[in-house]
């Protein structure tokens, strides 16, 4: 491996060390399963490594987030339904035996359709604008607005919250 390869690995290693857990948590917010989240985050970083010479450091985080989101949506489109929506929220954590104090939120998120869930995660968890969310999801601004509105309505219902919160921004 030449100098370029060494530098590439060094830069990438630094990025991996600082952002892998963040990517894994993002994936968990989307899929609600830690083992699948690990797989999604790992696959995203493998893809990022292959493209690393053409990725600007300041946009690398967004690049990985986009891949995680799209891999998640692709897996749902292909019918890889690891999750099993349930009619009622469980009273205890659902993190595969891991004690998860936010189980209620994540269980409620799993009631939301995948694309709507992705819109909610990008808009509220990552605080992206509607335009940025549209670019990451590869859809129109109007589509993001409607997906967000529908997702919030489902989430509120699943979460047991009255519909009185903010509207789509």
């Amino acid at each position: 491996m030449g100098d370029t390869g060494v530098r590439r690995d060094e830069e990438f290693s630094e990025f991996f060390t600082s952002r892998f857990d963040w990517a894994r948590r993002t994936a968990y917010a989307l899929c609600g399963d830690w083992s699948e989240a690990e797989e999604l985050a790992q696959n995203a970083f493998v893809k990022a490594y292959a493209k690393w010479p053409s990725i600007r450091r300041e946009t690398a985080e967004g690049y990985v987030r986009t891949i995680v989101t799209r891999l998640f949506l692709d897996s749902r489109r292909r019918g890889r339904e690891r999750e099993r929506p349930v009619a009622d929220l469980p009273e205890h954590g659902v993190g595969g035996g891991f004690s998860d104090p936010d189980a209620r939120l994540h269980a409620a998120l799993r009631q939301v359709a995948p694309k709507q869930r992705a819109a909610l995660v990008l808009r509220f968890v990552h605080d992206l604008s509607i335009e940025q969310t549209a670019a990451e999801l590869g859809c129109s601004v109007g589509n993001v607005k409607s997906q967000t509105a529908r997702g919030l309505a489902t989430l509120r219902e699943a979460y047991g919250e009255p519909v009185n919160s903010e509207r789509d921004r």
């Binding site: 690995d9 990438f12 290693s13 060390t17 892998f20 857990d21 894994r24 948590r25 993002t26 968990y28 917010a29 830690w34 690990e38 985050a41 790992q42 970083f45 493998v46 893809k47 490594y49 292959a50 493209k51 053409s54 946009t59 690049y63 986009t66 949506l73 489109r77 993190g95 891991f98 004690s99 998860d100 104090p101 936010d102 939120l105 994540h106 409620a108 909610l120 995660v121 509220f124 968890v125 605080d127 604008s129 335009e131 940025q132 670019a135 999801l137 590869g138 859809c139 129109s140 109007g142 607005k145 409607s146 509105a149 529908r150 919030l152 989430l155 979460y159 919250e161 919160s165 903010e166």
Partner: protein, 299 residues
């Protein structure tokens, strides 16, 4: 705490320790790089072979040269290239190419456009009134449409499409290739037009710097690249007109028209797509660019 606030803290959950190590990612990444390079090499070989075969075939199938006594022989097409320069800044590196989602692909037989994709950069300067929130009088909207008709005599420009409660002004544009549309929205900004235009160079996720021209009165017009979106491989090209009086006008050229959408039954304030529209945009870049100065002169 409402559910939005709960969502904002969704990353701060207890998590099991990660099992993925850097070694694993590097090994898989290097294998992927190797596979991509091998694939690219095979692609080059295939392209070279294809060019050779194609050249041979076309040579044999070429029509006879135009007769010297018939100067009008063959189709008479005149293409006007856009003469605006691009903003003088390096291009962005694409992170990949457009891939439509399997749930809403383009119609059968319509080729997938492998357009390069780049990350949009956030704008630092916010418009004082974002485009799409400024209500414009009926007279001005009528004048905009009249200006578009005047600039595009070769197209059929329809009347305003009834809206769904937003300050968006849509109208169909039709030619022999089908129907597309133009959406005009307006907003306000405070400060120099150049500052806002510079701030928005990468706001749409372009890979190439946008085209730009400045009119004698200081109006700055910036034309961005064509972007594909879902569903159905929707195509949109955007042009911003920044007037020195602080009015910003956004024109979106789209490959679908009013018959390809309907009011969203859920939100009631946005559109729902029901048709794929035409395969390309209804205007060339040069035709679309004509509208910038014409629209800037109205209102």
């Amino acid at each position: 705490m409402n559910v939005e606030d709960e969502l904002r803290g969704a990353l701060n959950v207890s998590a099991p320790p990660p099992t993925t190590t850097l070694d694993v990612v590097l090994k898989r990444g290097r294998r992927r790089v190797f596979a991509q390079r091998a694939g690219a090499l095979l692609g080059v070989v295939a392209v070279v072979a294809g060019i050779g075969i194609g050249a041979t075939t076309l040579n044999q199938a070429a029509p006879d040269p135009a007769p010297a006594d018939q100067p009008d022989y063959g189709p008479a097409t005149v293409e006007h290239p856009l003469t605006w320069p691009r903003v003088n800044t390096p291009a962005q590196q694409p992170y990949g190419t457009w891939t439509p989602a399997s749930t809403a692909p383009p119609p059968a037989g319509r080729p997938v456009l492998r357009l390069p994709q780049c990350n949009p950069r956030s704008r630092n300067l916010k418009f004082s009134v974002p485009t799409g929130l400024l209500k414009v009088s009926d007279n001005v909207v009528s004048s905009w449409i009249a200006a578009v008709r005047q600039q595009l005599p070769e197209k059929q420009v329809a009347e305003l499409t009834p809206g769904v409660g937003r300050e968006e002004y849509d109208f169909d544009v039709t030619d022999s290739g089908g129907t597309g549309s133009i959406r005009i929205t307006a907003g306000r900004f405070t400060g120099p037009a150049l500052q806002y235009a510079d701030d928005n160079v990468w706001g749409s996720g372009d890979c190439e710097p946008p085209y730009r021209t400045v009119l004698a009165d200081g109006t700055l017009i910036q034309l961005h690249s064509v972007h594909p979106f879902e569903p159905f491989q929707t195509l949109v090209q955007t042009m911003f007109v920044y007037r020195p009086d602080g009015l910003v006008i956004q024109l979106d050229l789209m490959n679908f028209g009013s018959k390809d959408k309907r009011p969203d039954p859920v939100s009631q304030s946005s559109w729902e797509r029901i048709g794929a529209g035409r395969p390309d945009l209804p205007l060339t870049e040069e035709q679309f660019a004509r509208l910038g100065p014409a629209i800037a002169g109205v209102a």
